[in-house]
């Protein structure tokens, strides 16, 4: 574990980016932070700017208009920053993979560290995915 990763393993700060989705994955992500599943007790919180983020969570299907914004947000995040693709649409395109406005899954544009499938993924699955991400770092 190098010097850069020493402060990275506990209390991650998340930045959430919706790349044009239907918002169900966003609701499940907010469920994780609300009192029933409550990952805020571990110090994990949502931040308002990507410059404060340790983890970039991308939810929703990537549309053609949002691709420059997605790449710009990733480039503005100070590294090390882990990227998580949340939901079936972010991983592979889900039910929209033949749509006219689909611009490829998230890993076609930015490098992804963890994939959390589901439509939408349950909060338990999101927590499991983040724990696996921490094990990988």
């Amino acid at each position: 574990m190098g010097a850069k990763n020493w402060g990275f393993k506990k209390s991650l700060w998340l930045f959430h980016l919706n790349a044009g989705g239907c918002n169900n994955c966003d609701i499940e992500l907010l469920d994780c932070l609300c009192p029933k599943f409550d990952v805020e007790r571990f110090g994990i919180k949502l931040v308002g700017s990507v410059k404060h983020a340790d983890v970039l969570m991308v939810s929703g299907v990537v549309t053609r208009k949002v691709v420059p914004e997605l790449i710009e947000t990733y480039e503005q995040a100070p590294k090390p920053c882990a990227v998580v693709a949340l939901g079936a649409c972010g991983c592979t395109g889900g039910i929209f993979k033949d749509g006219y406005n689909f611009a490829g899954p998230v890993d076609k544009h930015i490098p992804v560290d963890a994939y959390i499938p589901g439509c939408p993924p349950r909060p338990e699955a999101i927590i499991d995915g983040v724990v696996k991400l921490l094990g990988k770092l």
Binding site: T63, R64, K65, Y100, N101
Partner: protein, 142 residues
């Protein structure tokens, strides 16, 4: 009561409107393309209906447009329907009289290719900027 609204429509337009009442809170009014602007302006200006949203769908006979007017004083919805023949559908815009129809008509133009005559800003609103000008994804032509 929505009966009042339908009675006013019948007395104003006679048999140029064809009214079907689905239940006591929904009514469908079918008009022709020529009477479209007169009936929709009547719904907004005289009956004080609120244009909630609009629906467009591509049928085999043409593009069917539905404007949904909510009568808020009694909780009913009156839907004004017309069918515009293809291949180059054109109809008058409601935006000069009712500014809330601005984005609604731009979206119908963007996805179905209906040209709104008299619209002050006929640009596309949701498709990506690098699409060609005749890209109308909700058409069923192919």
């Amino acid at each position: 009561m929505s009966k009042e609204v339908l009675e006013h429509l019948r007395s104003e337009f006679g048999d140029r409107v064809d009214i079907v009442e689905r239940n006591e809170r929904r009514a469908y009014v079918t008009v022709s393309n020529e009477d479209w602007i007169a009936v929709t302006r009547f719904m907004y200006e005289e009956e004080r209906g609120r244009l909630a949203t609009a629906t467009g769908s591509d049928r085999s006979t043409g593009v069917e447009l539905l404007y949904h007017f909510c009568i808020d004083r009694d909780g009913t919805i009156v839907n004004i329907r017309t069918t515009i023949p293809k291949p180059f559908p054109k109809i008058e815009a409601l935006t000069p009289y009712y500014p809330a129809a601005d984005f609604i008509e731009r979206e119908i133009f963007d996805f179905l290719g209906v040209e709104f005559i008299g619209h002050p800003d006929p640009r596309k609103i949701l498709s990506a900027h690098d699409r060609p000008a005749d890209f109308h994804p909700m058409r069923r032509d192919e």
